[in-house]
Subunit: 317 residues, 4 copies
Amino acid sequence: MTRTEPCHDLAHLGHVELLSAKPQESLDFFINVMGMTEAGRDGQSVYLRGWDDYEFHTLKLTEFKTSGMGHVAFRTWSPQALERRIKVLEAEGRGIGWVDGDLGHGPAYRAKAPDGHIFELYYDTKWYEAPPELRPALKNQAQRYPARGCNVRRLDHLNLLVTDVTKTREFLDTCLGMRCTEQIMLDSGVEAGAWMTATNKTYDIAFTRDNTGTPGRFHHVTYAVDSREDILRCADIFLEAGVFIETGPHKHAVQQTFFLYVWEPGGNRIEIANAGARLMLAPDWKPIVWTETERKKGQAWGLKTVESFHTHGTPPV
Amino acid sequence: MTRTEPCHDLAHLGHVELLSAKPQESLDFFINVMGMTEAGRDGQSVYLRGWDDYEFHTLKLTEFKTSGMGHVAFRTWSPQALERRIKVLEAEGRGIGWVDGDLGHGPAYRAKAPDGHIFELYYDTKWYEAPPELRPALKNQAQRYPARGCNVRRLDHLNLLVTDVTKTREFLDTCLGMRCTEQIMLDSGVEAGAWMTATNKTYDIAFTRDNTGTPGRFHHVTYAVDSREDILRCADIFLEAGVFIETGPHKHAVQQTFFLYVWEPGGNRIEIANAGARLMLAPDWKPIVWTETERKKGQAWGLKTVESFHTHGTPPV
Amino acid sequence: MTRTEPCHDLAHLGHVELLSAKPQESLDFFINVMGMTEAGRDGQSVYLRGWDDYEFHTLKLTEFKTSGMGHVAFRTWSPQALERRIKVLEAEGRGIGWVDGDLGHGPAYRAKAPDGHIFELYYDTKWYEAPPELRPALKNQAQRYPARGCNVRRLDHLNLLVTDVTKTREFLDTCLGMRCTEQIMLDSGVEAGAWMTATNKTYDIAFTRDNTGTPGRFHHVTYAVDSREDILRCADIFLEAGVFIETGPHKHAVQQTFFLYVWEPGGNRIEIANAGARLMLAPDWKPIVWTETERKKGQAWGLKTVESFHTHGTPPV
Amino acid sequence: MTRTEPCHDLAHLGHVELLSAKPQESLDFFINVMGMTEAGRDGQSVYLRGWDDYEFHTLKLTEFKTSGMGHVAFRTWSPQALERRIKVLEAEGRGIGWVDGDLGHGPAYRAKAPDGHIFELYYDTKWYEAPPELRPALKNQAQRYPARGCNVRRLDHLNLLVTDVTKTREFLDTCLGMRCTEQIMLDSGVEAGAWMTATNKTYDIAFTRDNTGTPGRFHHVTYAVDSREDILRCADIFLEAGVFIETGPHKHAVQQTFFLYVWEPGGNRIEIANAGARLMLAPDWKPIVWTETERKKGQAWGLKTVESFHTHGTPPV
């Protein structure tokens, strides 16, 4: 199916549901170390948010027997856009059906991606209303700056592990209308990673090949802060809090994002990132293709990619 | 005309043509102080760019008898989107007609905004190809980081002075499909300023009331850098270069952008700005309305808005 | 008395005792907004510290009927250095006598400066021992990074209001062996301000003329943070906390320090500052003398000095 | 020899003479990539400086058949202090004798450190006088901010490779009056590194064990910039310039300095560093002793120390 014009049906990444077998430790990590705010709780889930996320929540932390991702959700630009996407998902045999929504949003349509990850699309949402003690001084901000821990600002993107990068890329292109901005192609011709966007961010989702061959795993979710200096301070804070720093801070060659990776107590990988003023503005951007040789050079300033980056995913194998 | 779905015809602000009666001094300012690169020259114009602008140029500096803006141009998402916009512009009686384009892009359609400013829309463009000595180390970057002067990264937005804010806002909404994200409403009911976007940036264009009552003037054009710290360093650089710093660095209350305003030798106001990780992601954002009383508080941390900000525009009255 | 060699008797500024008629509000400000730690309390005083102050405390907050400074204390390089200073203080008729010390240090010698401010000198001190929950991850750091509020790192300097700048400067030179690094001289020949150091910091104490003619008042005490970006974030935090921002963030022309001034609830002015990598290394530095004309240009990037800076001191007149 | 009071004879690190067999490439590196300024040239040497070094030069780049350090020089607090140090050097059998000085300073006294490195002490110096085009906007700054390349501010410290860390430490303590602030002690009882200061900087010189067993080699010289963000930008600049980045940017556990190491074209290791607001203020600081186990944890946030850090020195073995 060839598109005659770029698709603008997805507005942005909405939220990610993370699973944890250590829900209390995970919650403490997100609240006190990451500096997030609890927006509400329901059943086995706590709804969390960065201080400038406009919706009720962007992270749903759910108690589970193991780690990993429950689902990921994207908000559409309009109810009509949602209908259009559902039509394609059903035509492609990817649709699962409607769910009721939860504390943070209304009815959502679920689909299964090629590797088994659950994607939700929704338009009806709940805007966050800060209680008096969390009202910001400036009315164009969702919530008061917490001045606690890492003070993450907003959800940025997520990364999945997949057994077939190409299939997942085609699914996101065809069914969700996302655009691929950068890719890794191995010498063997196998596609090892892809970065895709639905916005002017250079990527909203990335996925890399799972070297263990296990389908449907989760790699990381990323929150954005305002500067690279903020990320250096986050590293100090993680060190003090005894959080395992997997790698960074450093600058990615792919997408040039300044990054820091840690593992939350439940085992899920969390990234803090800053993209500077880099945006994807070109409507006709051709995907940047990174070769195996280029990838072996390591990150932008030469840091070698840590081995666990290709193997550690959640749930563990 | 009510829109049933958000419009996505404009891709982004493309370039601004600035006029200067001191072309050599202005050029020296943009190259050596701002750290921009000359992409080419033609007739009385020099084409300039920030190091990560993907197009050939984002600033066309043209020798003229006085200062001000020649025209502003937006790139559309597709040829079809351009056709749709032309149809509306003509229906609204705003169309002027096609022009041939220049060194930086192909044919463009011109329109006249309510205050007389010239807007161009185009899709055919010329991607920048860096000569060998300016090729970047990372292939996902348009050009080598210059390591000279302010090192501005990319064009961000422009600001116009208008005699009727409401009319200009309605023009940008109806004819170009832009969304208003923030506004200033005086106690008298007069709209004194508006900020509009066609992207996930919180604004691509702003316009404020010209207190002198002169139509069609230019307020400023803004280049983005990667951090607030970059802007503090820019202030040091402007000081050393003897460039007039009008106000800043400080943080706007409206849109929360960290800013620094200077006047280039030709008299045009130039801003260096950083938005942190702030983006406009909500498809259903309601414009933030700032009252006269709120504006009197000054900028975010209390700096009073300088008087010249409401009167200095180009060309001078 | 001419010195044949530079004096090295003072090691550094030790602590400042601030008075407040709103002790609870002031304490909340220092703990929750400034991010300081309570080290202990005794009588009407609470002992406070930045996270990398090596001594027990650097700020003694004392309940009093009004605001202002109780005393300021400098630590000497050795017991012998203390004896030498006392000898000079007594010879100059400035000595008051020994006091017992308090929770934070041992016996100290008190002297009265020309304008009536109380100075203490001491060598015996109490090194801070962090309780288990505040122990840092790195053993070369005094205390865990709090990740709360402004996270001020360490005491930097203080500023006094005086009726006679020259007399105070001569006192600090002759009696304490401090060196003057920068000065303000009015066209009338009156010295309006001086900055003096006992270390490689470019100043440990400053004093400016009290335009109200009141002797013995306090202007501000300053805590250092690691970057200018930290100070911009502090401004966000003060805004959210409803703390009055008097002026800044901006860069001083004198000493080039990046600054931010606020008033704590008790009325005392507090500065957050960063000096970058600037140090006073030259043993034969000649004081920089700023003229009245130069001062009228405002701060480094042009911000005019606010009127209250010359009149607001504590206690109020 | 026990000291009854701390010694204050050394004022600061004055300059380092680096040798290069590729003098033109090295010079281009220091001028265009590091952003340093040529102050003068004489014979086979070029005198270089950071923009806020107050002396004529802080780096003397000398053409030689190989790489390495020619000498390192410290300025004393006074002529008398110089005499005192010479007396001790001669008593300890370390003295070599007077040399005439060069373009940057007057007569200097040379001594040989235990590993054979040449140390110079001097008091007579030449303050830098900026030519008109390099005069700064603010009179308390040595030279105009260059706005070119890395813009290093000032010389910070140097690091030597030695065969016997303890002997070198004792030499610097006894003969030069420096204080040890941090040390590495291996499980075997061998001292593997030491950091010493003559100022309020936490170190002016460091030296680590040369794993190749070669005496008298050079490890690196360090220039300071104002912020950690500056160092991140330096990494971008080194990448663009094709300069080999050995390791970093990252934060040292020892001394907590934020660092970036590169090799200049002549092979000498160069560091760009920022210490934040960290200073050595305590007159009675006890050296922090790092164990072998602690060192194996890597740098502050976990980056492993690269192998070349223990073997690459100049001249090459």
